[in-house]
């Protein structure tokens, strides 16, 4: 395996007490991603960086022997001319501590998300009785455009066209249309028949406060009444309170999104 040295170095670092990491890969995913080039490794003695280069950003995962090892991140990534983003996911205070270490190494807090779960959703009360339907293969580009219009690609993990296509094929995207235009959607992932992760939930700004969001959520909750629902929500807006009204509760997991400051 061409990435043997990299894996050995990751293991050497992981064996050390007090090592730091933001990576949460299954071994098979790590091996496949390195093999097919989705992830690129940068290996230095006390720091391994795994680079996931996207069209709009560079997302970085790391295994660091100690906090000072992270001082090298900027130098090791100096060839990349895109925003450099590190996600730190975990429970506080550990996640906050790791985020602070990165802030001391030249990063700034760009955004913060919390995970919310719900195993007994309250049905939305405000509905417009719009027709909710599954997206079809011709909706791919409209869905992508709506995602980009609503979310900042630096933190939204916006899916590729092929991921959207797969989700359409698995009936994981529902839409509401005005004439033919998509004006709202839910994009979810069926982790299992009783475990659903909402990835995106959008109503076009022009069509908000009409009950369309309620229709979309009602459709999903009604389709899978026994499921536990999970979603990530930004702490920078009032969406969290809206989800709390539907009985979503913060489960303690946070995601600090850190951006390397420009020189």
């Amino acid at each position: 395996m061409k990435y043997n040295n990299l894996i050995n170095n990751i293991n050497t670092i992981r064996k050390q007490k007090g090592h730091l990491s933001n990576a949460f890969f299954a071994g098979s995913f790590l091996a496949d991603s390195l093999n097919n080039g989705t992830l690129k490794g940068i290996d230095s003695e006390d720091l391994v960086l795994l680079i996931d280069e996207k069209p709009d950003l560079v997302r970085v995962y790391f295994y660091a022997l100690e906090r000072n090892s992270l001082q090298k991140v900027r130098l090791l990534l100096s060839n990349y001319n895109k925003p450099i983003i590190i996600d730190v996911v975990g429970k506080d205070p550990q996640a906050r501590d790791l985020a602070n270490i990165l802030i001391n190494c030249g990063f700034e807090e760009y955004s913060k998300f919390v995970r919310m779960v719900n195993d007994k959703p309250n049905m939305p009360k405000y509905l417009s009785n719009s027709k909710v339907e599954y997206a079809n293969k011709y909706d791919k580009e409209s869905i992508m455009a709506l995602l980009y219009s609503e979310f900042d690609p630096l933190f939204a993990h916006i899916p590729s066209q092929s991921e959207i296509e797969q989700a359409i094929n698995k009936n994981e995207i529902t839409v509401v249309r005005d004439d033919k235009k998509i004006i709202g959607l839910t994009f979810f992932e069926m982790i299992s028949s009783t475990n659903i992760m909402f990835r995106y939930f959008i109503v076009d700004e022009e069509f908000r406060k009409k009950g369309i969001g309620g229709d979309l959520l009602f459709y999903t909750f009604n389709s899978y009444p026994e499921a536990k629902y999970t979603l990530w929500v930004g702490t920078y807006n009032k969406a969290m309170q809206k989800y709390e009204r539907l009985n979503f509760k913060h489960d303690g997991l946070v995601d600090y999104i850190l951006k390397l400051k420009e020189n």
Partner: protein
């Protein structure tokens, strides 16, 4: 085995883990849980789990977890 159950219950007190062979497939343990569990297992059983052994099938059940601990020299 009891120690493994205790660790799983610490992560998810709401689940009954006994006899469940679909901890990953059913989404009871997600990738974030897996990272925490690996750390707990390594510290609790004084073993090291290779990065490439952190596979869904090795954490699908308590028996599978026990097997990976034993493979790495841990005493169950």
């Amino acid at each position: 085995m009891e120690k493994i159950y205790e660790m799983l219950i610490e992560l998810h007190p709401e689940y009954d883990f006994k006899g469940n062979n679909g901890l990953i497939e059913e989404g009871i343990l997600d990738s974030f849980d897996l990272v925490s569990l690996v750390t707990m297992l390594e510290e609790g059983f004084d073993v090291f789990i290779d990065a490439l052994d952190i596979l869904p099938e090795n954490f699908a059940s308590v028996d599978a977890i026990a097997k990976i601990i034993k493979k790495n020299g841990g005493a169950i």
